[in-house]
């Protein structure tokens, strides 16, 4: 089983209130080395079998149509998740 990862970020020019709130909280906790934070979202799409270029193309299409709001967000990454096979039984893996 393969997995496609789609990463979506708020457009760089757009205000990101969540990221701003996180940045403020980090500073209050003493993590003042992080100047700014921007928060996006990650989707994991599972497919039967290998991730093919065709499937990536379909995922890219879906990302533009549904997974992101193209007015205020950018799809910054659509790729095969290479760790998908090994980590099938371990959802806690951090990439």
């Amino acid at each position: 089983m393969g997995r496609i990862v789609v990463d979506v970020m708020p457009k760089p020019e757009i205000l990101d209130p969540q990221g701003k709130a996180v940045a403020g909280a980090l500073a209050r906790l003493g993590y003042d080395e992080f100047g700014a934070v921007r928060q996006g979202k990650r989707f994991e799409l599972e497919v039967d079998g290998e991730v093919t270029p065709e499937l990536l193309g379909r995922a890219r299409e879906a990302a533009g149509l549904l997974l992101s709001n193209p007015v205020i967000e950018d799809v910054v990454n659509v790729s095969a998740d290479e760790s998908a096979d090994e980590s099938a039984d371990d959802d806690a893996v951090v990439s």
């Binding site: 757009i14 205000l15 209130p17 709001n69």
Partner: protein, 770 residues
């Protein structure tokens, strides 16, 4: 001049000096929306070509949205037709951020309605959210604490595939921003009509309260006073068309595609509100202005223009979210949640301490200067040097040609009186149910349940009652009522009458709640001013509204014009949303719209004529729009208002509900369903007196009518008052029991159990959108 530390790829800075030396540089004025003669006028004003920063400022400030260049000549009537007596209740009027009305006991109230139509179609959630944020800052800038919001929403046909997308986003955006701010949403409008399919209307209204002495105005006076920018940092959002300038002039790598929409942060706005109110209380603010459309360009030029005229700004002092922004972009950015204040140098430390307390970033970016120039520097290089009045207040004024459309006669000749009507009791019954369940009359609960209506604990009435009522003074109970209305079908049939009918209905709604109407705000939503037919609608609307305001003694205090609301060549119906604000001494005396006490008698006030053109009945049952709208009768409206206010004050009525869309039938449905209490009604007397059929009595939309429920003990006093003042009234029913088999019974015609009525009225929006 060596201190330039600009980041980014900018290679040239278009200084005033450089502009003087390069008169032949080709500038993208057309791409920025300027006309050739406008560009020439800018050159004439400056005696040279504008710098790119100046061009950006002029282009955005001379746009239709900021300059009102097409509408100005018509809007003047609102001032010209305001009499001294009408002016006497105003502490500030048109031209300020919002009108301010004296409501007594040292209190004043400010209110205004604005549009955010186009952004809300592109990005419904953020467009609607920032619409709320913007109008709240307008109210705040007057020195007032925002106390309530309302929203006026118009969407395409309810069953069109694209409508749900816009509805979901807009409703969530209005609720998301307003609820997070902790402001009650006390009402508004919700209309579905195919004419708004490609161009929904999202208007937002805010009400604020202040003590007289706290009134603040937007001007920059006092040489040496400091210009302070505070609130959110400035980012690259909402720059829109100005990216053309940046890319065409400087960037050979192609356009940078700055997004035209902004994202709001209601929590930042909430902190900004509290910070501003503490700054006002401390008395450290000389003048204040919110940053909305056109951002810093607008705030600096308007403050300077309304003040002494001189201001020097150091643009590199503006706190940025994105360090790569060019000066032109900083001037144009419409980043949300920002304010600009004028502060005396000896008070700046206090100002900064208060800002720090609220964790609001603030920066001194310039000062008020002698002379009459607004100068802006970027790291010591002069990039703007203009007379601020020419930017802010002396923009182009157009006498757009207007002409009554040739099709208007045919439209008016196509009367609804010729349409087939229901006759039998069963047919009437079916029509009542069908109308009650139609998109514009069905329960709006699915929308209003998403809004917080009672936060702050001062809401006395909210949707679904006729007007929103909020308490202003928690000691005395002094409060205000606000209602907005517009039947755009009436305005389409006759824009002069349509505007008056919108005022008439809003005025009646405020009086129905028990408040004395005092002042008006308006949001005029129209198609393209370059279409002479649309411009005729606009001219007729403003004339009608100004004339009617004079008759009713309620001045227009401010508002907003939104033009170019069209899809292709198809303009929306003219939609002049009219908001009326009224005052009541004690909000506990408010009159709700539904009856509760069995045995109370129901009176219909006002005369019913056979007026069906433009009605909800004609639209829902026949898809028909034609003929002439109901007759305007402002004298009757004013008398009715006095009766309702007196009846509320003296405790003569327990419920009152105005008759408008859907006529008496819909008013009865709503008055019954408000508290699930039935009624027995008879129409014979009214039909005989007014010479009409039961169908007309039920579905005509004649003005100046309400139904009231009167306790038996007060019946004589009530009817004596009506008789003494010449108010037409008729006893048409009694309030019935509130038990399970409660019904709306119209004697001799039909009877509908309230359970069946609710089943018809309630589920439409919920079933459609959730």
């Amino acid at each position: 001049m060596t201190g330039r530390t600009m980041s980014g790829a900018t290679t040239h800075l278009d200084t005033v000096e450089h502009a003087g030396q390069s008169p032949d540089t080709i500038q993208p004025w057309a791409e920025l929306g300027l006309k050739a003669d406008e560009y020439q006028r800018i050159r004439a004003i400056l005696g040279r070509r504008p710098t790119s920063a100046e061009l950006a400022m002029y282009s955005v400030m001379w746009s239709e949205h900021c300059s009102y260049k097409s509408s100005k000549v018509h809007l003047r009537q609102f001032g010209d037709k305001t009499t001294e007596q009408m002016r006497s209740v105003l502490l500030a009027g048109i031209g300020e951020n919002a009108g301010v009305v004296d409501v007594g006991d040292g209190w004043a109230v400010t209110f205004k309605v604005e549009s955010h139509n186009h952004p809300s179609y592109i990005e419904p959630y953020q467009g609607a959210a920032t619409g709320v944020g913007g109008i709240v800052r307008d109210i705040l800038a007057m020195g007032a604490r925002p106390i309530a919001v309302m929203d006026q929403l118009r969407f395409g046909a309810i069953d069109h595939p694209d409508t749900a997308r816009v509805v979901h986003g807009v409703v969530a955006g209005v609720g998301g921003y307003g609820n997070c701010l902790g402001l009650p949403n006390i009402g508004g409008e919700l209309v579905f009509d195919p004419c708004y399919q490609g161009n929904p209307l999202v208007n937002a209204l805010c009400v604020g309260a202040l003590r007289h002495e706290d009134l603040h105005l937007a001007n920059a006076t006092g040489e040496g006073n400091l210009v302070v920018l505070f609130g959110a940092r400035t980012g690259g959002d909402g720059i829109g068309g100005v990216s053309v300038l940046a890319s065409e002039t400087f960037d050979e790598k192609g356009p940078s595609r700055r997004p035209a929409v902004q994202v709001g942060d209601p929590f930042a706005e909430k902190v900004l509100i509290e910070c501003c109110l503490e700054l006002f209380t401390a008395g450290v603010v000389e003048g204040i202005q919110d940053l909305g459309g056109a951002g810093l360009s607008c705030a600096t030029s308007e403050l300077a223009s309304a003040g002494d005229g001189g201001m020097a700004v150091r643009l590199e002092e503006v706190p940025l979210r994105d360090a790569t922004l060019r000066p032109e972009e900083i001037l144009m950015s419409e980043s949300q949640e920002r304010m600009m204040a004028i502060v005396r140098p000896d008070r700046i430390d206090e100002f900064m301490a208060i800002a720090r307390k609220w964790d609001v970033e603030a920066a001194v970016i310039g000062e008020v200067t002698a002379g009459e120039r607004l100068t802006i520097t970027w790291h010591d290089e002069l990039i703007v040097d203009v007379p601020p009045r020419t930017v802010a207040h002396e923009g182009p004024v157009y006498q757009r040609p207007f002409e009554r459309p040739g099709s208007q006669d045919a439209l008016q000749a196509d009367s609804a009186l010729a349409l087939p009507r229901p006759k039998t009791g069963d047919e009437l019954r079916e029509t009542v149910l069908r109308l009650a369940g139609s998109p514009n009359l069905a329960s709006k609960e699915w929308v209003t349940a998403q809004y917080d209506r009672y936060v702050m604990g001062n809401t006395a009435l909210a949707m679904p009652d006729d007007a929103g009522v909020v308490r202003v003074d928690e000691e005395s109970g002094l409060g205000v009522a606000v209602a907005t209305d517009c039947n755009a079908r009436f305005a389409k049939l006759d824009p002069y009458a349509g505007a008056q009918l919108a005022l008439s209905e809003a005025y009646r709604n405020v009086a129905t709640a028990g408040a004395t109407p005092l002042a008006v705000t308006d949001c005029l939503n129209f198609g393209s001013p370059e279409d002479p037919g649309v411009m005729w609608q606009f001219a007729e609307t403003t004339r009608g509204l100004a004339d009617a305001c004079q008759v009713l003694g309620t001045p227009v205090t401010g508002g907003n014009v939104s033009l170019y609301n069209s899809t292709g060549d198809d303009a929306i119906h003219p939609t002049p949303v009219v908001g009326v604000l009224g005052v009541m001494d004690d909000v506990t005396r408010r009159t709700p719209s539904g009856w509760r006490q069995p045995g109370q008698v129901i009176y219909l006030l006002g005369t019913t004529r056979e007026e069906l053109s433009g009605s909800e009945w004609a639209w829902v049952t026949h898809g028909h729009l034609g003929g002439v709208p109901p007759k305007v009768d402002l004298g009757a409206e004013r008398l009715l208002g006095q009766i309702l206010v007196n009846a509320s004050r003296d405790g003569l009525v327990d419920a009152a509900h105005d008759l408008s869309d859907g006529g008496l039938a819909q008013a009865l449905v709503e008055a019954c369903l408000r508290y699930d209490v039935g009624a027995r009604v008879w129409l014979d007397e009214v039909c005989e007196r007014d010479g009409i059929s039961p169908f007309t009595a039920l579905f005509s939309e004649s003005v100046a009518r309400v139904i009231v429920s009167v306790p038996r003990t007060e019946e004589v006093r009530f009817t004596d008052m009506c008789t003494a003042r010449g108010q037409v009234h008729a006893r048409i029913g009694v309030v019935d029991s509130p038990d399970e088999d409660a019904t709306l019974d119209v004697q001799g015609l039909f009877s509908i159990p309230l359970t069946e009525l609710r089943q018809a009225w309630e589920p439409l929006l919920r079933n459609t959108f959730s």
